[in-house]
Amino acid sequence: MEYVLTTSALSKKYRNFEALKDMTMHIPKGSIYGFVGRNGAGKTTLIRVICGLQEPTSGEYTLYGISNKDRRIAKSRHRMGAVVETPSIYLDMTAEDNLKQQALVLGLPSYERIPEILKLVGLENTGKKKARHFSLGMKQRLGIAVALIGNPDFIVLDEPINGLDPQGIVEVRELILKLNHEHGITVLISSHILGELSKLATHYGFIEKGHVVKEISAAELEAVCRRCIKVEVSDTKALIRVLDRMKKDYEVISDTQANIYGVVVLSELVLALAEEKCDLLASHEQDENLETYFINLVGGGENG
Protein backbone atom coordinates (compact mmCIF):
# COMPACT_ATOMS: atom_id res chain seq x y z
CA MET A 1 0.00 0.00 0.00
CA GLU A 2 1.23 3.49 -0.83
CA TYR A 3 1.33 5.87 2.09
CA VAL A 4 1.19 9.65 2.01
CA LEU A 5 2.36 10.01 5.58
CA THR A 6 4.03 7.60 7.95
CA THR A 7 5.42 8.27 11.38
CA SER A 8 7.91 6.12 13.17
CA ALA A 9 8.48 6.27 16.93
CA LEU A 10 7.67 9.96 16.83
CA SER A 11 7.95 11.78 20.14
CA LYS A 12 7.40 15.36 21.22
CA LYS A 13 8.22 16.65 24.67
CA TYR A 14 7.29 20.00 26.18
CA ARG A 15 9.56 20.31 29.19
CA ASN A 16 8.35 17.45 31.42
CA PHE A 17 5.21 16.66 29.46
CA GLU A 18 5.44 14.06 26.74
CA ALA A 19 2.71 14.93 24.23
CA LEU A 20 3.66 12.25 21.70
CA LYS A 21 5.22 8.95 22.70
CA ASP A 22 6.74 6.64 20.10
CA MET A 23 3.88 7.33 17.75
CA THR A 24 3.65 5.18 14.68
CA MET A 25 0.93 5.67 12.10
CA HIS A 26 0.31 5.18 8.38
CA ILE A 27 -2.00 7.22 6.18
CA PRO A 28 -2.81 5.40 2.94
CA LYS A 29 -2.98 7.40 -0.28
CA GLY A 30 -6.51 8.36 -1.26
CA SER A 31 -7.96 7.73 2.20
CA ILE A 32 -9.88 9.89 4.62
CA TYR A 33 -7.97 9.13 7.78
CA GLY A 34 -9.97 9.84 10.90
CA PHE A 35 -7.71 10.65 13.78
CA VAL A 36 -9.63 9.91 16.94
CA GLY A 37 -8.70 10.76 20.48
CA ARG A 38 -9.81 12.59 23.58
CA ASN A 39 -8.96 16.20 24.24
CA GLY A 40 -5.29 16.41 25.07
CA ALA A 41 -4.50 13.00 23.60
CA GLY A 42 -1.95 14.52 21.22
CA LYS A 43 -3.92 14.95 17.99
CA THR A 44 -3.09 18.61 17.46
CA THR A 45 0.52 18.11 18.55
CA LEU A 46 0.98 15.45 15.88
CA ILE A 47 -0.61 17.72 13.29
CA ARG A 48 1.66 20.62 14.29
CA VAL A 49 4.68 18.35 13.99
CA ILE A 50 3.83 16.94 10.57
CA CYS A 51 2.98 20.42 9.30
CA GLY A 52 6.48 21.60 10.26
CA LEU A 53 5.20 24.02 12.88
CA GLN A 54 7.07 22.14 15.58
CA GLU A 55 10.09 19.87 15.55
CA PRO A 56 9.76 16.36 16.94
CA THR A 57 11.92 15.57 19.97
CA SER A 58 12.80 12.18 18.51
CA GLY A 59 11.64 9.72 15.87
CA GLU A 60 10.78 10.67 12.33
CA TYR A 61 7.99 11.00 9.83
CA THR A 62 7.92 10.74 6.08
CA LEU A 63 5.80 12.78 3.72
CA TYR A 64 5.48 11.15 0.30
CA GLY A 65 8.38 8.94 1.31
CA ILE A 66 10.67 11.83 2.21
CA SER A 67 11.91 11.93 5.78
CA ASN A 68 11.56 15.07 7.87
CA LYS A 69 15.34 14.87 8.34
CA ASP A 70 15.82 15.26 4.60
CA ARG A 71 16.08 18.81 3.22
CA ARG A 72 13.73 17.85 0.40
CA ILE A 73 10.85 17.70 2.89
CA ALA A 74 10.22 21.40 2.15
CA LYS A 75 9.46 20.50 -1.45
CA SER A 76 7.08 17.71 -0.50
CA ARG A 77 5.24 20.16 1.73
CA HIS A 78 4.19 22.03 -1.42
CA ARG A 79 1.90 19.06 -2.03
CA MET A 80 0.03 19.49 1.24
CA GLY A 81 -2.40 21.97 2.72
CA ALA A 82 -3.60 22.28 6.27
CA VAL A 83 -6.14 23.90 8.52
CA VAL A 84 -4.66 23.64 12.00
CA GLU A 85 -7.08 24.51 14.81
CA THR A 86 -8.38 27.80 13.39
CA PRO A 87 -8.44 28.64 9.69
CA SER A 88 -5.37 30.59 8.54
CA ILE A 89 -7.00 33.58 6.87
CA TYR A 90 -6.48 37.33 6.93
CA LEU A 91 -9.64 38.63 8.59
CA ASP A 92 -9.37 42.05 6.98
CA MET A 93 -9.39 40.61 3.47
CA THR A 94 -12.11 39.18 1.25
CA ALA A 95 -12.23 35.49 0.36
CA GLU A 96 -10.73 36.23 -3.05
CA ASP A 97 -7.94 38.38 -1.60
CA ASN A 98 -7.07 35.65 0.87
CA LEU A 99 -6.67 33.18 -1.95
CA LYS A 100 -4.60 35.66 -3.97
CA GLN A 101 -2.37 36.15 -0.96
CA GLN A 102 -1.79 32.40 -0.60
CA ALA A 103 -1.30 32.08 -4.36
CA LEU A 104 1.58 34.56 -4.05
CA VAL A 105 3.04 32.65 -1.10
CA LEU A 106 3.01 29.54 -3.26
CA GLY A 107 4.33 31.39 -6.30
CA LEU A 108 1.42 30.35 -8.52
CA PRO A 109 1.73 31.83 -12.00
CA SER A 110 -1.86 33.10 -12.12
CA TYR A 111 -5.03 33.53 -10.16
CA GLU A 112 -7.13 31.53 -12.62
CA ARG A 113 -7.99 28.73 -10.18
CA ILE A 114 -9.44 31.11 -7.61
CA PRO A 115 -13.04 31.24 -8.96
CA GLU A 116 -13.05 27.45 -9.27
CA ILE A 117 -11.87 26.98 -5.69
CA LEU A 118 -14.30 29.55 -4.33
CA LYS A 119 -17.07 27.68 -6.10
CA LEU A 120 -15.84 24.36 -4.77
CA VAL A 121 -16.10 25.61 -1.18
CA GLY A 122 -19.32 27.51 -1.84
CA LEU A 123 -17.94 31.00 -1.29
CA GLU A 124 -18.23 32.29 -4.84
CA ASN A 125 -20.86 34.88 -3.90
CA THR A 126 -19.16 36.53 -0.94
CA GLY A 127 -18.01 39.52 -3.02
CA LYS A 128 -16.38 42.28 -1.01
CA LYS A 129 -17.40 40.91 2.36
CA LYS A 130 -14.39 40.73 4.65
CA ALA A 131 -13.54 37.36 6.22
CA ARG A 132 -14.01 39.03 9.63
CA HIS A 133 -17.77 39.11 8.93
CA PHE A 134 -18.01 35.48 7.78
CA SER A 135 -19.82 32.87 9.83
CA LEU A 136 -17.68 30.21 11.49
CA GLY A 137 -18.60 27.69 8.79
CA MET A 138 -17.66 30.14 6.03
CA LYS A 139 -14.33 30.86 7.72
CA GLN A 140 -13.69 27.15 7.99
CA ARG A 141 -14.46 26.65 4.31
CA LEU A 142 -12.26 29.61 3.40
CA GLY A 143 -9.47 28.04 5.46
CA ILE A 144 -9.92 24.85 3.45
CA ALA A 145 -9.93 26.89 0.21
CA VAL A 146 -6.61 28.48 1.23
CA ALA A 147 -5.24 25.00 1.87
CA LEU A 148 -6.48 23.91 -1.56
CA ILE A 149 -5.16 26.75 -3.68
CA GLY A 150 -1.81 25.06 -4.27
CA ASN A 151 -3.62 22.00 -5.66
CA PRO A 152 -2.40 19.69 -2.87
CA ASP A 153 -3.00 15.98 -2.85
CA PHE A 154 -2.94 15.77 0.92
CA ILE A 155 -4.81 18.03 3.31
CA VAL A 156 -4.76 18.05 7.06
CA LEU A 157 -7.84 19.25 8.91
CA ASP A 158 -7.66 19.67 12.65
CA GLU A 159 -11.10 19.59 14.25
CA PRO A 160 -12.76 21.19 11.20
CA ILE A 161 -16.30 20.90 12.55
CA ASN A 162 -15.68 22.21 16.05
CA GLY A 163 -18.15 24.94 16.90
CA LEU A 164 -20.07 24.69 13.63
CA ASP A 165 -23.86 24.69 13.49
CA PRO A 166 -25.61 21.64 11.93
CA GLN A 167 -25.73 23.35 8.52
CA GLY A 168 -22.01 24.17 8.71
CA ILE A 169 -21.19 20.59 9.71
CA VAL A 170 -23.07 19.22 6.70
CA GLU A 171 -21.34 21.72 4.37
CA VAL A 172 -17.86 20.87 5.60
CA ARG A 173 -18.60 17.14 5.52
CA GLU A 174 -19.84 17.31 1.94
CA LEU A 175 -16.84 19.37 0.94
CA ILE A 176 -14.42 16.84 2.43
CA LEU A 177 -16.19 13.95 0.69
CA LYS A 178 -16.15 15.88 -2.60
CA LEU A 179 -12.43 16.59 -2.29
CA ASN A 180 -11.71 12.95 -1.61
CA HIS A 181 -14.05 11.37 -4.13
CA GLU A 182 -13.83 13.82 -7.02
CA HIS A 183 -10.32 15.20 -6.63
CA GLY A 184 -8.61 12.19 -5.09
CA ILE A 185 -7.22 14.22 -2.20
CA THR A 186 -6.00 12.29 0.82
CA VAL A 187 -7.43 13.78 4.00
CA LEU A 188 -6.21 13.56 7.56
CA ILE A 189 -9.01 14.74 9.79
CA SER A 190 -8.82 14.89 13.55
CA SER A 191 -11.94 15.03 15.62
CA HIS A 192 -13.51 13.84 18.79
CA ILE A 193 -17.01 14.07 17.30
CA LEU A 194 -17.09 10.39 16.44
CA GLY A 195 -20.57 10.26 14.94
CA GLU A 196 -19.52 12.80 12.34
CA LEU A 197 -16.18 11.15 11.68
CA SER A 198 -17.85 7.80 11.07
CA LYS A 199 -19.71 9.38 8.13
CA LEU A 200 -16.45 10.33 6.46
CA ALA A 201 -13.47 8.20 7.34
CA THR A 202 -12.15 5.31 5.33
CA HIS A 203 -9.42 4.63 7.88
CA TYR A 204 -9.07 5.34 11.57
CA GLY A 205 -6.19 5.94 13.92
CA PHE A 206 -7.01 5.90 17.62
CA ILE A 207 -4.70 7.93 19.81
CA GLU A 208 -4.46 7.86 23.57
CA LYS A 209 -1.88 9.65 25.72
CA GLY A 210 0.29 10.51 22.73
CA HIS A 211 0.35 7.00 21.34
CA VAL A 212 -1.56 5.43 18.47
CA VAL A 213 -3.25 2.43 20.07
CA LYS A 214 -4.91 1.09 16.95
CA GLU A 215 -5.11 1.71 13.23
CA ILE A 216 -8.00 0.15 11.40
CA SER A 217 -9.81 0.59 8.10
CA ALA A 218 -13.48 1.55 8.06
CA ALA A 219 -14.32 -1.82 6.50
CA GLU A 220 -12.52 -3.67 9.27
CA LEU A 221 -14.17 -1.50 11.86
CA GLU A 222 -17.55 -2.15 10.33
CA ALA A 223 -16.92 -5.86 10.54
CA VAL A 224 -15.92 -5.54 14.16
CA CYS A 225 -18.87 -3.31 14.97
CA ARG A 226 -21.50 -5.30 13.06
CA ARG A 227 -24.58 -6.13 15.07
CA CYS A 228 -24.20 -9.72 16.15
CA ILE A 229 -25.14 -12.29 18.70
CA LYS A 230 -22.36 -14.11 20.42
CA VAL A 231 -23.51 -17.63 21.20
CA GLU A 232 -22.02 -20.44 23.25
CA VAL A 233 -23.06 -23.93 22.22
CA SER A 234 -22.19 -27.52 23.12
CA ASP A 235 -21.35 -28.47 19.51
CA THR A 236 -20.07 -25.91 17.01
CA LYS A 237 -20.22 -28.38 14.09
CA ALA A 238 -23.96 -28.69 14.66
CA LEU A 239 -24.20 -24.90 14.93
CA ILE A 240 -22.41 -24.50 11.59
CA ARG A 241 -24.82 -26.90 9.89
CA VAL A 242 -27.80 -25.02 11.33
CA LEU A 243 -26.47 -21.61 10.39
CA ASP A 244 -25.63 -22.74 6.86
CA ARG A 245 -29.16 -24.03 6.52
CA MET A 246 -30.55 -20.74 7.84
CA LYS A 247 -28.20 -18.84 5.45
CA LYS A 248 -26.76 -16.74 8.27
CA ASP A 249 -23.46 -14.88 8.25
CA TYR A 250 -21.33 -16.15 11.12
CA GLU A 251 -17.82 -16.43 12.51
CA VAL A 252 -16.63 -19.28 14.72
CA ILE A 253 -14.37 -17.86 17.37
CA SER A 254 -13.64 -20.94 19.52
CA ASP A 255 -14.66 -24.58 20.04
CA THR A 256 -17.83 -23.49 21.76
CA GLN A 257 -18.37 -19.89 20.66
CA ALA A 258 -19.45 -18.13 17.49
CA ASN A 259 -20.68 -14.73 16.36
CA ILE A 260 -23.86 -14.69 14.30
CA TYR A 261 -24.39 -11.51 12.29
CA GLY A 262 -27.69 -9.95 11.34
CA VAL A 263 -31.11 -10.53 12.86
CA VAL A 264 -31.45 -13.87 14.63
CA VAL A 265 -34.71 -15.26 16.00
CA LEU A 266 -33.46 -17.09 19.03
CA SER A 267 -36.44 -19.46 19.37
CA GLU A 268 -35.90 -20.69 15.77
CA LEU A 269 -32.21 -21.14 16.44
CA VAL A 270 -32.83 -23.09 19.67
CA LEU A 271 -35.30 -25.43 17.92
CA ALA A 272 -32.96 -25.98 14.98
CA LEU A 273 -30.06 -26.69 17.32
CA ALA A 274 -32.21 -29.10 19.35
CA GLU A 275 -32.87 -31.09 16.16
CA GLU A 276 -29.08 -31.43 15.83
CA LYS A 277 -28.81 -32.43 19.50
CA CYS A 278 -26.90 -29.32 20.33
CA ASP A 279 -27.55 -27.10 23.36
CA LEU A 280 -27.49 -23.30 23.33
CA LEU A 281 -25.57 -22.55 26.53
CA ALA A 282 -25.51 -18.74 26.38
CA SER A 283 -26.15 -15.80 24.07
CA HIS A 284 -25.11 -12.12 24.29
CA GLU A 285 -26.16 -9.39 21.91
CA GLN A 286 -23.28 -7.21 20.74
CA ASP A 287 -23.97 -3.86 19.10
CA GLU A 288 -20.77 -1.84 18.83
CA ASN A 289 -20.27 1.43 16.99
CA LEU A 290 -17.30 3.74 16.61
CA GLU A 291 -18.04 5.33 19.95
CA THR A 292 -18.24 2.11 21.94
CA TYR A 293 -15.29 0.69 20.01
CA PHE A 294 -13.22 3.74 20.96
CA ILE A 295 -14.30 3.60 24.59
CA ASN A 296 -13.53 -0.13 24.77
CA LEU A 297 -10.17 0.51 23.16
CA VAL A 298 -8.95 3.35 25.33
CA GLY A 299 -10.98 2.69 28.45
CA GLY A 300 -13.75 5.03 29.53
CA GLY A 301 -12.60 5.61 33.08
CA GLU A 302 -10.63 8.78 32.63
CA ASN A 303 -12.24 12.00 31.68
CA GLY A 304 -10.81 13.54 28.56
Binding site: Y14, R48, C51, G52, L53, Q54, E55, I73, A74, K75, S76, R77, H78, M80, G81, A82, V84, E85, T86, P87, S88, I89, Y90, L91, D92, M93, D97, K100, Q101, Q102, L104, V105, L106, G107, V146, A147, G150
Partner: protein, 280 residues
Protein backbone atom coordinates in the same frame (compact mmCIF):
# COMPACT_ATOMS: atom_id res chain seq x y z
CA UNK B 1 11.99 34.38 -0.99
CA UNK B 2 10.60 36.35 -3.92
CA UNK B 3 7.24 34.64 -3.38
CA UNK B 4 7.19 35.69 0.26
CA UNK B 5 8.22 39.24 -0.58
CA UNK B 6 5.52 39.55 -3.21
CA UNK B 7 2.95 38.32 -0.73
CA UNK B 8 4.15 40.57 2.10
CA UNK B 9 4.36 43.65 -0.11
CA UNK B 10 0.88 43.02 -1.47
CA UNK B 11 -0.34 43.02 2.11
CA UNK B 12 1.66 46.14 2.89
CA UNK B 13 0.08 48.13 0.07
CA UNK B 14 -3.34 47.09 1.34
CA UNK B 15 -2.58 47.80 4.97
CA UNK B 16 -4.61 50.65 6.46
CA UNK B 17 -2.15 50.77 9.33
CA UNK B 18 0.65 51.58 6.90
CA UNK B 19 -1.20 54.59 5.51
CA UNK B 20 -2.24 55.57 9.02
CA UNK B 21 1.43 55.43 10.06
CA UNK B 22 2.47 57.63 7.13
CA UNK B 23 -0.27 60.12 7.96
CA UNK B 24 0.63 60.14 11.66
CA UNK B 25 4.34 60.70 10.97
CA UNK B 26 3.61 63.41 8.39
CA UNK B 27 1.15 65.16 10.72
CA UNK B 28 3.49 64.99 13.74
CA UNK B 29 6.38 66.32 11.69
CA UNK B 30 4.25 69.14 10.28
CA UNK B 31 3.07 70.02 13.76
CA UNK B 32 6.64 69.88 15.10
CA UNK B 33 7.84 72.06 12.24
CA UNK B 34 5.21 74.74 12.79
CA UNK B 35 5.69 74.66 16.55
CA UNK B 36 9.46 74.83 16.28
CA UNK B 37 9.50 77.65 13.77
CA UNK B 38 6.80 79.59 15.59
CA UNK B 39 8.60 79.29 18.93
CA UNK B 40 12.14 79.97 17.76
CA UNK B 41 11.49 82.48 15.03
CA UNK B 42 8.53 84.42 16.36
CA UNK B 43 8.83 84.08 20.15
CA UNK B 44 12.64 84.00 20.48
CA UNK B 45 13.37 85.88 17.26
CA UNK B 46 15.94 83.26 16.29
CA UNK B 47 16.73 82.40 12.69
CA UNK B 48 16.96 78.64 12.34
CA UNK B 49 17.94 76.96 9.11
CA UNK B 50 15.83 74.12 7.78
CA UNK B 51 18.89 71.84 8.14
CA UNK B 52 18.42 71.87 11.92
CA UNK B 53 14.95 70.41 11.80
CA UNK B 54 15.34 68.10 8.84
CA UNK B 55 15.45 65.05 11.11
CA UNK B 56 12.51 66.03 13.26
CA UNK B 57 10.79 62.83 12.13
CA UNK B 58 13.30 60.73 14.08
CA UNK B 59 11.57 61.79 17.30
CA UNK B 60 8.28 60.14 16.30
CA UNK B 61 9.24 57.45 13.82
CA UNK B 62 10.21 55.03 16.61
CA UNK B 63 6.66 55.00 17.91
CA UNK B 64 5.24 54.55 14.43
CA UNK B 65 7.59 51.61 13.80
CA UNK B 66 6.74 50.03 17.16
CA UNK B 67 3.03 50.06 16.37
CA UNK B 68 3.24 49.24 12.68
CA UNK B 69 5.76 46.39 12.82
CA UNK B 70 4.24 44.73 15.86
CA UNK B 71 0.77 44.81 14.28
CA UNK B 72 1.91 43.86 10.78
CA UNK B 73 3.75 40.78 12.04
CA UNK B 74 1.33 40.15 14.93
CA UNK B 75 -1.53 39.81 12.45
CA UNK B 76 0.29 36.84 10.92
CA UNK B 77 0.18 35.18 14.32
CA UNK B 78 -3.34 36.19 15.31
CA UNK B 79 -4.85 35.29 11.92
CA UNK B 80 -2.75 32.12 11.78
CA UNK B 81 -1.31 32.97 8.37
CA UNK B 82 2.26 32.49 9.59
CA UNK B 83 1.37 28.79 9.70
CA UNK B 84 0.26 28.74 6.05
CA UNK B 85 3.74 29.80 4.99
CA UNK B 86 5.49 27.16 7.09
CA UNK B 87 3.06 24.39 6.15
CA UNK B 88 3.74 24.82 2.43
CA UNK B 89 7.46 24.51 3.05
CA UNK B 90 8.85 28.02 3.30
CA UNK B 91 12.09 28.30 5.23
CA UNK B 92 11.63 30.15 8.50
CA UNK B 93 14.74 32.27 8.01
CA UNK B 94 13.30 33.43 4.69
CA UNK B 95 9.99 34.26 6.36
CA UNK B 96 11.92 36.32 8.90
CA UNK B 97 13.95 38.04 6.20
CA UNK B 98 10.89 38.80 4.14
CA UNK B 99 9.20 40.43 7.13
CA UNK B 100 12.38 42.36 7.85
CA UNK B 101 12.57 43.74 4.32
CA UNK B 102 8.88 44.60 4.16
CA UNK B 103 8.68 46.35 7.51
CA UNK B 104 12.01 48.10 6.87
CA UNK B 105 10.65 49.43 3.60
CA UNK B 106 7.54 50.65 5.45
CA UNK B 107 9.60 52.33 8.19
CA UNK B 108 11.93 54.04 5.73
CA UNK B 109 8.99 55.09 3.57
CA UNK B 110 7.28 56.70 6.57
CA UNK B 111 10.49 58.58 7.41
CA UNK B 112 10.96 59.69 3.81
CA UNK B 113 7.42 61.05 3.71
CA UNK B 114 7.98 62.83 7.04
CA UNK B 115 11.19 64.39 5.73
CA UNK B 116 9.46 65.33 2.49
CA UNK B 117 6.85 67.23 4.51
CA UNK B 118 9.63 69.23 6.17
CA UNK B 119 11.22 69.99 2.83
CA UNK B 120 7.99 70.92 1.09
CA UNK B 121 6.53 72.99 3.93
CA UNK B 122 9.81 74.26 5.39
CA UNK B 123 11.69 75.53 2.32
CA UNK B 124 9.12 78.19 1.32
CA UNK B 125 8.99 79.34 4.93
CA UNK B 126 12.58 79.03 6.13
CA UNK B 127 14.56 79.08 2.93
CA UNK B 128 16.76 76.43 1.40
CA UNK B 129 19.45 74.27 3.03
CA UNK B 130 22.57 75.89 4.41
CA UNK B 131 24.56 72.67 4.53
CA UNK B 132 25.84 71.31 1.26
CA UNK B 133 24.40 68.21 -0.30
CA UNK B 134 27.63 66.27 0.15
CA UNK B 135 27.31 66.62 3.92
CA UNK B 136 23.55 66.36 4.12
CA UNK B 137 23.10 63.26 1.98
CA UNK B 138 25.38 60.97 4.05
CA UNK B 139 23.61 62.25 7.15
CA UNK B 140 20.25 61.31 5.66
CA UNK B 141 21.53 57.86 4.77
CA UNK B 142 22.99 57.36 8.27
CA UNK B 143 19.67 58.42 9.74
CA UNK B 144 17.77 55.94 7.58
CA UNK B 145 20.19 53.21 8.65
CA UNK B 146 19.40 54.00 12.31
CA UNK B 147 15.73 53.56 11.49
CA UNK B 148 16.44 50.19 9.89
CA UNK B 149 18.35 49.18 13.05
CA UNK B 150 15.45 50.21 15.25
CA UNK B 151 13.08 48.25 13.05
CA UNK B 152 15.35 45.19 13.36
CA UNK B 153 14.97 45.42 17.12
CA UNK B 154 11.18 45.78 16.98
CA UNK B 155 10.91 42.96 14.46
CA UNK B 156 12.88 40.64 16.71
CA UNK B 157 10.27 41.17 19.43
CA UNK B 158 7.36 40.95 17.01
CA UNK B 159 8.56 37.62 15.63
CA UNK B 160 9.01 36.15 19.08
CA UNK B 161 5.94 37.50 20.89
CA UNK B 162 2.89 35.91 19.27
CA UNK B 163 0.35 38.16 20.99
CA UNK B 164 -0.19 41.25 18.86
CA UNK B 165 -1.43 43.41 21.71
CA UNK B 166 1.29 42.41 24.17
CA UNK B 167 3.95 42.87 21.53
CA UNK B 168 2.68 46.35 20.60
CA UNK B 169 2.71 47.39 24.26
CA UNK B 170 6.19 45.96 24.87
CA UNK B 171 7.56 47.66 21.75
CA UNK B 172 5.95 51.00 22.56
CA UNK B 173 7.20 50.96 26.14
CA UNK B 174 10.65 49.97 24.94
CA UNK B 175 10.81 52.77 22.38
CA UNK B 176 9.45 55.23 24.92
CA UNK B 177 12.03 54.23 27.53
CA UNK B 178 14.87 54.22 25.01
CA UNK B 179 13.87 57.54 23.45
CA UNK B 180 12.65 59.52 26.42
CA UNK B 181 14.69 58.09 29.27
CA UNK B 182 17.84 56.31 28.16
CA UNK B 183 18.82 58.69 25.37
CA UNK B 184 18.42 61.94 27.41
CA UNK B 185 20.16 60.30 30.39
CA UNK B 186 23.10 59.25 28.25
CA UNK B 187 23.21 62.74 26.73
CA UNK B 188 23.17 64.48 30.11
CA UNK B 189 25.90 62.21 31.49
CA UNK B 190 28.13 62.63 28.46
CA UNK B 191 27.54 66.36 28.14
CA UNK B 192 28.08 67.08 31.83
CA UNK B 193 30.95 69.48 32.61
CA UNK B 194 33.99 67.81 34.15
CA UNK B 195 34.42 70.74 36.56
CA UNK B 196 31.85 72.45 38.75
CA UNK B 197 32.83 76.13 38.51
CA UNK B 198 33.56 78.31 41.54
CA UNK B 199 30.39 79.57 43.18
CA UNK B 200 29.83 82.41 45.64
CA UNK B 201 26.79 83.32 47.64
CA UNK B 202 25.94 85.75 50.39
CA UNK B 203 23.98 84.60 53.41
CA UNK B 204 21.38 86.60 55.36
CA UNK B 205 24.06 88.17 57.59
CA UNK B 206 25.98 89.49 54.61
CA UNK B 207 28.81 86.98 54.80
CA UNK B 208 30.09 85.88 51.40
CA UNK B 209 30.68 82.16 51.03
CA UNK B 210 32.78 80.87 48.20
CA UNK B 211 32.78 77.30 46.95
CA UNK B 212 35.94 76.71 44.96
CA UNK B 213 36.03 75.10 41.58
CA UNK B 214 35.89 71.30 41.95
CA UNK B 215 35.65 68.16 39.81
CA UNK B 216 32.10 67.08 38.95
CA UNK B 217 31.51 63.72 40.74
CA UNK B 218 28.89 62.81 38.10
CA UNK B 219 31.28 63.33 35.23
CA UNK B 220 31.89 59.94 33.67
CA UNK B 221 35.48 59.05 32.99
CA UNK B 222 37.52 56.08 31.79
CA UNK B 223 35.71 52.85 30.99
CA UNK B 224 32.34 54.17 32.18
CA UNK B 225 32.56 57.05 29.75
CA UNK B 226 33.60 54.71 26.92
CA UNK B 227 30.61 52.44 27.60
CA UNK B 228 28.20 55.35 27.86
CA UNK B 229 29.55 56.83 24.65
CA UNK B 230 29.30 53.45 22.94
CA UNK B 231 25.67 53.09 24.02
CA UNK B 232 24.92 56.65 22.96
CA UNK B 233 26.42 56.05 19.54
CA UNK B 234 25.20 52.51 19.04
CA UNK B 235 21.59 52.44 20.21
CA UNK B 236 19.38 53.37 17.27
CA UNK B 237 17.07 55.49 19.42
CA UNK B 238 20.09 57.37 20.81
CA UNK B 239 21.36 57.96 17.29
CA UNK B 240 17.94 59.24 16.29
CA UNK B 241 17.83 61.41 19.39
CA UNK B 242 21.10 62.98 18.30
CA UNK B 243 19.76 63.62 14.79
CA UNK B 244 16.59 65.13 16.15
CA UNK B 245 18.14 67.82 18.34
CA UNK B 246 19.61 70.53 16.17
CA UNK B 247 23.13 69.25 15.87
CA UNK B 248 25.39 67.06 13.78
CA UNK B 249 26.26 64.13 16.00
CA UNK B 250 29.87 64.01 17.12
CA UNK B 251 30.54 60.41 16.10
CA UNK B 252 28.26 60.29 13.09
CA UNK B 253 31.00 58.60 11.06
CA UNK B 254 30.67 55.55 13.34
CA UNK B 255 26.89 55.38 13.19
CA UNK B 256 26.61 53.33 9.97
CA UNK B 257 29.05 50.76 11.31
CA UNK B 258 27.16 50.45 14.59
CA UNK B 259 23.81 50.28 12.79
CA UNK B 260 24.97 47.55 10.43
CA UNK B 261 26.36 45.59 13.39
CA UNK B 262 23.13 46.09 15.31
CA UNK B 263 21.03 44.94 12.34
CA UNK B 264 23.26 41.94 11.68
CA UNK B 265 23.36 40.69 15.26
CA UNK B 266 19.67 41.22 16.00
CA UNK B 267 18.50 39.71 12.72
CA UNK B 268 20.71 36.65 13.15
CA UNK B 269 19.55 36.14 16.73
CA UNK B 270 15.93 36.73 15.72
CA UNK B 271 16.02 34.36 12.75
CA UNK B 272 17.71 31.61 14.83
CA UNK B 273 15.20 32.00 17.66
CA UNK B 274 12.29 31.99 15.19
CA UNK B 275 13.61 28.83 13.55
CA UNK B 276 13.61 27.01 16.88
CA UNK B 277 10.29 28.34 17.96
CA UNK B 278 7.30 26.01 18.32
CA UNK B 279 4.45 27.57 16.37
CA UNK B 280 0.87 26.98 17.42
Amino acid sequence: MVKLLRSDFRRLWRSKLFYLGITAVAASVAFGLINNVHYKRIMLNLEIPIDNILFLGTLVIGFAIAIFTSFFVGTEYSDGTMRSKVVVGHNRSMIYLSHFLTTTFAAVFMMVIGTAVIVVVGIPWMGSFVTSCTILLPQILCCLLSIVALNAMILLLAMLIPSKAICAIVCLVLVMVMTNMISPTLWSKLEADPIIPEMSYTDSEGVVHTQPEQPNPHYATGTTRTILQLCYDMLPTAQMYQYGYDKIPKNIHLFPLYSVLFIGVLSTVGACAFRRRDLK
